[in-house]
């Protein structure tokens, strides 16, 4: 059982998908609508998008969905004629939600399991940047039990406690060889930390709905993670550590969202996210041999602008589309190959199908295009151009009761 669970978790890591290593694939209707939804009471994913809107959901329900992320990054070292590509690994982040309680009651319950942060970047073992990173698998799965209270017919508030399970697995080459074989280091560990998610949902007299939410920072602490060195020369081995401690802030996100309803069948969502990335100042590994490797990150806060539309075309079919623009929190000189972040455009589309009154199937497709970025990392000296695109299809099943 543990093994199965473990293998499931290992399959989960995903590349950051909205900004840096933040992931925004928590609901398939919302994903298809440019990732907007804080100002809507759309479905069970409101547990994530706005706990205050959960009490406004017309029905109880459960949903589970999964995405596949085809991430394609190219790197061209400055002055080189060679373009290198990351390896194709398809992480499949999943999310599941349940909303319970009587829809007539003011108080409703929800639970969500989702992955708001992650990264999966795998380069070839002998690529140009191998001494900075060869692979990074990182994810944080949040488990969030939630309460939502409809204070009046117009105003709902909600909040949930977040239990965050983090996992990091970083590999890179170390500049030694043993009998001609490259020495490599692997740092892996996990973390268990707490946070919270809260929101307010308001239906205004004009018909526009408004959502304000805040997901707290979670400070992921890895203690006694494994530092594993392979093929180290025997003279170097006694100097190498075996464990490490590290802290990675998973930043807070504040969102202001609006819902517009031009017709009974049409919904437009508008969101602005503000991600408090400034907390990510450095990534320092403290080793048990008394050494540490501080690495400055100096991220700055960054916003994402999202717009989406859905149209219930027939009782069977709903069409969705959206777009977003995400500003990168990574400043000049701090771009690293494990998260080659840049400002990005997101385009999305989706269809929702209702084979029956209770059953729903939602498909989403998200395309992301990161601006090409030419940089010299101030720490590693790695200089070159990164270009990334991502294709992210997904599907979710929901059942209302």
């Amino acid at each position: 059982m543990r093994k199965i669970l473990l293998s499931f978790l290992l399959a989960v890591p995903v590349l950051g998908f909205s900004q840096s290593f933040q992931v925004n694939l928590q609901g398939h209707k919302q994903t298809a609508m440019g990732g907007a939804g804080a100002g809507l009471a759309l479905d069970e994913a409101a547990v994530f998008f706005n706990p205050g809107a959960v009490s406004f959901l017309k029905k109880n329900g459960v949903q589970a969905g999964v995405n596949g992320i085809w991430l394609k990054t190219a790197f061209n070292e400055t002055g080189s004629s060679i373009t290198e590509y990351n390896k194709t690994k398809v992480p499949t982040p999943a999310a599941a939600y349940a909303v319970l309680g009587s829809p007539e009651n003011r108080l409703r319950f929800g639970i969500g399991v989702y992955t708001p942060f992650g990264g999966a970047m795998h380069w070839k073992e002998d690529w140009t940047g191998k001494f900075t990173v060869t692979s990074l698998d990182l994810h944080a799965i949040y488990i969030q039990p939630t309460l939502s209270l409809k204070i009046t017919d117009e105003i709902g508030i909600g909040g949930g406690l977040v239990y965050a399970l983090g996992k990091v697995d970083l590999k890179r080459a170390v500049p030694y060889t043993s009998n001609g074989v490259q020495t490599t280091a692997q740092l892996k560990g996990d973390s268990k930390d707490f946070g919270w998610n809260a929101g307010i949902f308001i239906k205004t007299i004009s018909g526009v709905s408004v959502g304000v939410t805040h997901r707290s920072q979670v400070t992921a602490k890895v203690e006694n993670g494994d530092a594993i060195f392979s093929n180290a020369p025997s003279s170097v081995q006694p100097l190498l550590p075996t464990t490490f401690n590290a802290t990675l802030p998973l930043p807070a996100t504040s969102t202001l969202g609006f819902g517009f309803y031009p017709s009974e069948k049409t919904t437009i969502a508008l969101d602005v996210n503000w991600v408090w990335w400034h907390a990510y100042k450095d990534l320092t590994f403290y080793y048990n041999n008394g050494t540490s490797t501080p690495s400055a990150r100096n991220y700055h806060d960054a916003a994402t602008f999202r717009v989406g539309i859905q149209n219930e075309t027939t009782s069977f079919l709903t069409l969705r589309a959206g777009a977003a623009y995400a500003l990168s929190p990574v400043g000049k000189g701090y771009v690293t190959p494990e998260v080659p972040d840049a400002n990005r455009i997101l385009l999305s589309a989706g269809i929702g199908l209702k084979p029956s009154e209770r059953l729903g199937v939602d498909f989403s497709f998200l395309y992301e295009n990161l601006k090409s970025r030419t940089e010299t990392n101030i720490e590693s000296g790695l200089s070159g151009t990164f270009k990334t695109v991502a294709y992210i299809p997904g599907v979710a099943l929901s059942y209302k009761f």
Partner: protein, 426 residues
Amino acid sequence: MKSIYFYKSALALAVLGLASCKPSIDTITPSKGTADFTRYIALGNSLTAGFSDGGLYLEGQQNSFPEMIAAQMKAVGGGSFATPFFPADKANGTGYLKLTALTNGVPTIGKETMNLAIRGQVGAVTLYTKYTGEMNNYGVPGIKLIHARFPKYADFNGLYERLLPGEYGTNPTTYLDFATAKPWTFFSNWLGNNDILGYAAAGATGEAPTDKALFTNEYNAVINKLTSTGAKGVVGTIPNVTVTAYFRTVTLKTLLAAVNATPAGASVKDIYIQPGIGPARPATADDLFTLPLSSDGVIGKGQIPYGLHPLNPVESKYVLDKAEVVVVNDYINTYNNTIKSVANAKGLAVMDAYTVLNEYGAGKHVNGIPVSGAFIQGNLFSLDGIHLTPLGYAITANAFIAAINAKYGSSIPIVDVTKYRGVKFP
């Protein structure tokens, strides 16, 4: 039925989307610019030959900077490039230094003596297995600029003699004539280091530096010959030998620490040196000690402890004292001014090795690899403390490529430095 159709088409759309191509980056368009790399010849000393770890051996030859840049030149019309490699069964060439142990950070360095390419000995000159075949890399360890036009130089340098036809003592061909016997379209010239290195490395004892005016004269003569057929080229300046690991590993501080750690030497406060001029005196932080002072293990030995008493000071051959450092730097600066002005007059590219090695020696990350002038751990200098590791040569190769591209508008792609090693650890 209808719903199945929808699922299928959605799946098909998704698959179509995923089949979309990878992102593309506009990389440099290969161009030779105004240069012609059809036949590239490399003139120089040990740094051109690929000398490393105190010896010339096959792995070092394969990782010489001319081999690296010639491989990159192929993208812009460069032709084949041959280095006078030692044969595989004599791959260890002259022999070389090996790190055999590293205990608590203290290295033990041994010597490779198997599979050498030695064919004989005439007086002080060791003779090596002859090389016959095509040649583009004419790097000869030990050669000075003033040897380039010196007849019978082969009688004094076995690593040059091995390249020439005929038995020892029968071939008076000068180095410059030999290297320019066949037409060439591009050259690199990195001669001049040994005109000062021998003086500096022996603590300013032994051979004198090449006279400055003579250096200018010879440099002009060599460059005039190399440009006489219209070929373009690149020249290298002379690195600052006083910042190499050879002079920066054994210091007053490390010597005192080692002495103080022994019971008898706990109270020792001074290391006495014999400077070039004047009586023995206590060493200061501005006096540089050579690497062999440590490996020879002489400190504290004898009735009057060596180096710890004015009557038995560290010999001058182990010390480049403060005044001698000034002399060495003056020669290097003068030589480099000559190199740069001659190159500028002829419109040649200049790889400023002096600046480049100062920069990397001071400590820098290269594609995530920490590089510095530190002995063994610095990845830049090989076990002799002066010559470079393959990684060091790769950094040099990229500096040459940058200089060539900047001068001639060419776009020779750079070398991937991460493919080359630093010091080999046991």
